[in-house]
Amino acid sequence: MYLKLLVISVIIFSACGKGIEPEPEKTEVGFSGTITFIGEWDENITSTNIVLFKNEIKSAADFDFINIKYASEVIPFGAKSYSYNTSKNQPVLNSIEAGDFAYLAVAQTTETEIQLVRSAWVVAGVYNSESDSSEFGKLTIPEGEFLSDINIVCDFNNPPPQPPGGK
């Protein structure tokens, strides 16, 4: 009698589902391209990274882990050209999902200890959509797409406008 009850109970409960389930697999989203450096590197540079921001940098507070969705590995010092791919390199941070991103840039620091503080970084180059020059720094990644030719030019002799909160 009790065994029957137990078996029936287990069958009923088994029908209740398995609880949390994984999200369906998504096609990887991301981007790749080439960074071109023009001019002489400042010899004090300690780290150069490609950084993707979700929201516009309106103040120093926006330069943080919450707003940064991608930070590449360190680009070798003195490079003239550097090819990257968000799915292949070993990024410091990668939480890219499809959507609009307000700012894609190459940032450099002279600090010996890496700090996530706006004042420690200088923007050396900013992504500029060739098709729409008004979309300065902006990047849109459609659902399920991997973008290529997201190229950035860093002209050390002609640096881009710096977002607020710098030195």
Binding site: Y2, L6, V10, F13, S14, C16, G17, K18, G19, I20, E21, P22, E23, E25, S59, A60, A61, F63, D64, F65, I66, K69, L93, S95, E97, L116, V117, R118, G165
Partner: protein
């Protein structure tokens, strides 16, 4: 009656003449079926003389001076047996005591609610008791695991909440106080409870006091108290070896597999207890290893527990207790995402925590007379932990604590308890700096049996707390309680009390960068306050069915919560007084035993309405509905049981962490629905002092989270063996 008195007096005079000779009382303790009861407590009334029954249910109290003694024999789950007066005059008395199982569970003795011995049925406040037998059957290895099955208690990872008092703050400040034999076990830096401190094999019972208990226990008891009572030392040598081995099943989803081998867990405890004259000692050593079903969540731990007592005389005793462990575990905070739910983000791989913790305490108990007794408790809690990789934080703290408590029976009906306690905490840490904290508390409680039916309790406590150079905070916490026995089957209770919690050093001083999140100190934190109202009823239906119901209402002021905020230059998390909260609810529990067919059943339901009334949203991590059911079947030496646990999906979680992509897919949460099975066989009836238990946890392999991005244990099966020598 007069004849009895005259005879007693005669023997008393005779005993006085023969004073100087010693005798003993020995015998056996069995249950109604004649099976020996191991670990039953035997105590001589009005003294500190006592022992526990050995593996054969035998006991002996020797070295008794000539006199008249009354013996109390008790065991959790059984009715207390009080003997007739026994006269010792150099002779040896043999007693065979039978303990019968309780029908009315509320006859059970507890000591935490009023800091003295009381029957559960006499309390003004809701209290649950968990006995060691239950811990053993379910192969519980950590105390917070068994609390998950306690009515009115909710556990999020290892953070315990009583009636919705706490959400989840990664251990930084708790609203529940845990004590070991009355010694508080909150750490000196974070104030967190470390459940691994106490090996479960050394636990006799756990008492859970629900609702604000600051009037007796001060800060941290704002939500309630969990008091762990350790086992008494045996008079004869007993060695226990308990070992277990278990294995986790494969995850329910192929995507979650991160390792091709089965993940196992195992542990072994060896303990020994014995008494040498006036000196008793109990020592246990435990090794635990868990490879874990989650990546980077493995654990290896060595722990030890020592309890020793020295009987100074028949009315005073000194006890020394030490408990500690050293462990090394992976630090799993959140999953990578729901497709890799058993793996941490890449950045957290390799992050580990090493901890060394030890608490040592000295307890002196003295019965001065029939009306006055006191005890002194001194303790030192050394705590060290260090994070490897990750944020590389480390902290070392020492918490010194002293308490003196007096019990004064003014009359047969009036008991006054008073006490004072003080603590000093010293911290040296990369995350909290090096602050000191001092606390002082003074309390008094009067308990008056106005009539045979009505008992009223009133108490008041003053607390003073000061951290470093910050302004001191203080608070008065009053309470009032009533217990009214309508008849033998129906008892009413009511309670009104206030609570107080001073911010911990961690909440005030934390300064770190954890997984990219900046946490900043807040020197402006105010203490939390609350008040609680409760009314309850106990009733016994048909002489078989226990029924307990309570309705409660709590108002919280200045609730401290970790808050994501910004100062314009950067975004950071800071502990702030952000919430004015209201928690209301009901607890209902019932149970019955059908002894004729060896079956027992327990059921409890809790409804919790926990709201942030300023922001008009639910408080985080508080399930609205909780159901817990347990069925046990016993046939001779065999037992079979099942536990069912249901918690409705929590309405609010750490939404900021989800919206800012710290916890990918963090909004995935469901109702909690867990079924466990256990089966056991006792070899005692075959003269083999051993128990074998099989456990299946999460039978349906149901996937749920208690905290976002952190899957709770998947189905696992374990076998544990207990051997007594």
């Amino acid at each position: 009656m007069k004849v009895k008195i005259i005879i007693s007096l005669f023997f008393l005079i005779l005993a006085t003449i023969l004073n100087g000779q010693t005798g003993s009382i020995s015998g056996s303790i069995t249950d109604a079926n004649g099976s020996p009861l191991v670990g039953a407590n035997i105590l001589i009334e009005g003294t500190i003389i006592g022992t526990v029954s050995d593996k054969n249910g035998m006991f002996e109290l020797s070295g008794l001076k000539s006199g008249t003694y009354i013996l109390e024999a008790s065991m959790v789950g059984y009715k207390k047996n009080i003997s007739d007066p026994i006269i010792i005059s150099g002779n040896n008395i043999i007693l065979n005591i039978t303990l019968t199982e309780k029908i009315l569970q509320y006859d059970q003795v507890v000591i935490s609610a009023g800091k003295h011995k009381q029957n559960l049925s006499e309390l003004p406040v809701s209290t649950s008791v968990i006995n060691s037998n239950r811990i053993s059957k379910k192969n519980i290895v950590k105390i917070d695991e068994i609390l998950r099955y306690t009515p009115g208690v909710n556990v999020a990872l290892d953070q315990v909440s009583i009636r919705g008092s706490s959400g989840f703050s990664r251990g930084a400040g708790t609203r529940v106080l845990m004590t070991l034999d009355g010694l508080p076990l909150s750490t000196g830096d974070t104030g967190e409870l470390v459940w691994e401190m106490i090996p479960v094999t050394d636990v006799e019972r756990i008492e859970v006091i629900k609702g604000s208990s600051s009037a007796l226990y001060g800060s941290a008891a704002i939500g309630g108290v969990v008091n762990i009572i350790s086992k008494n030392i045996t008079s004869k040598p007993i060695t226990l070896v308990k070992s277990y081995f278990g294995v986790y099943d494969n995850p329910a989803h192929d995507e979650w597999k991160w390792n091709n081998s089965y993940r196992t867990f195992n542990g072994i405890t060896a303990s020994h207890s014995n008494t040498f004259g006036d000196f008793g000692i109990s020592l246990s050593l435990t090794r635990t290893e868990d490879l874990s079903y989650k990546r980077n969540n493995d654990l290896k731990r060595y722990s030890g527990f020592l309890k020793s007592t020295y009987k100074i005389n028949d009315f005073s005793k000194l006890s020394f207790i030490a408990a500690g462990y050293s462990h090394d575990r992976g630090n799993f905070n959140f999953w990578k995402n729901s497709r890799q739910a058993l793996e941490p983000p890449d950045l957290d791989l390799g992050a580990r925590v090493k901890s060394d913790r030890i608490i040592s305490g000295l307890i002196y108990e003295s019965i001065i007379s029939k009306v006055f007794s006191y005890n002194v408790k001194l303790s030192l809690y050394n705590n060290y932990w260090k994070e490897i990789l990750g944020s590389e934080n480390s902290s070392r703290s020492e918490l010194y604590r002293a308490e003196v408590q007096t019990n004064f029976s003014v009359s047969d009906n009036l008991l006054i308890i008073g006490g004072l306690e003080s603590s000093i905490s010293q911290v040296s840490s990369t995350i909290f700096g090096s602050p000191d904290a001092n606390t002082f508390g003074l309390y008094a409680q009067a308990e008056n049996k106005f009539t045979k039916k009505l008992t009223l309790t009133a108490g008041l406590r003053f607390d003073y707390s000061k951290i470093n150079q910050l302004d001191a905070v203080n608070s008065f916490s009053p309470k009032l309680g009533a217990n009214y026995k309508i008849n033998e089957k129906t008892i009413l209770r009511a309670f009104a009390g206030t609570g107080f919690r001073a911010p911990t050093l961690a909440e005030t001083y934390t300064s770190t960068n954890a997984s990219g999140l900046i946490i900043r100190p807040n020197l402006e934190l105010d203490p939390e306050n609350n008040y609680t109202l409760e009314a309850g009823i106990i009733h016994l239906f048909f002489d078989k069915i226990n029924f307990d119901a309570a309705i409660f209402h709590s108002e919280y002021f200045d609730l401290v919560e970790p808050t994501l905020t910004s100062d314009g230059d950067s975004r950071f998390i800071q502990f702030r007084n952000v919430t004015r909260a209201r928690i209301q609810g009901i607890d209902i529990s019932t149970g019955f035993e059908l002894e004729s067919i060896g079956t027992s059943f327990k059921f409890s339901y809790s409804y919790l309405w926990a709201r942030d009334i300023e922001n008009k949203i639910a408080l985080k991590y508080r399930p609205r509905n909780t159901i817990y059911a347990e069925a046990e079947y016993t046939l001779g030496s065999f037992n079979l049981g099942t536990d069912v646990r249901y918690l409705s999906k929590v309405e609010e979680v750490d939404r900021e962490l989800i919206e800012n992509d710290f916890v990918i897919d963090g909004d995935k949460r469901v109702d909690v629905f867990v079924i466990d099975l256990h089966a056991g066989f006792s070899f005692f009836n075959f003269n083999i002092p051993a128990n074998l238990n099989l456990n299946i946890y999460n039978l349906l392999n149901y996937n749920y989270v208690e905290v976002i991005g952190n899957i709770s244990p998947i189905r696992n099966i374990s076998l544990n063996l207990e051997l007594l020598f």
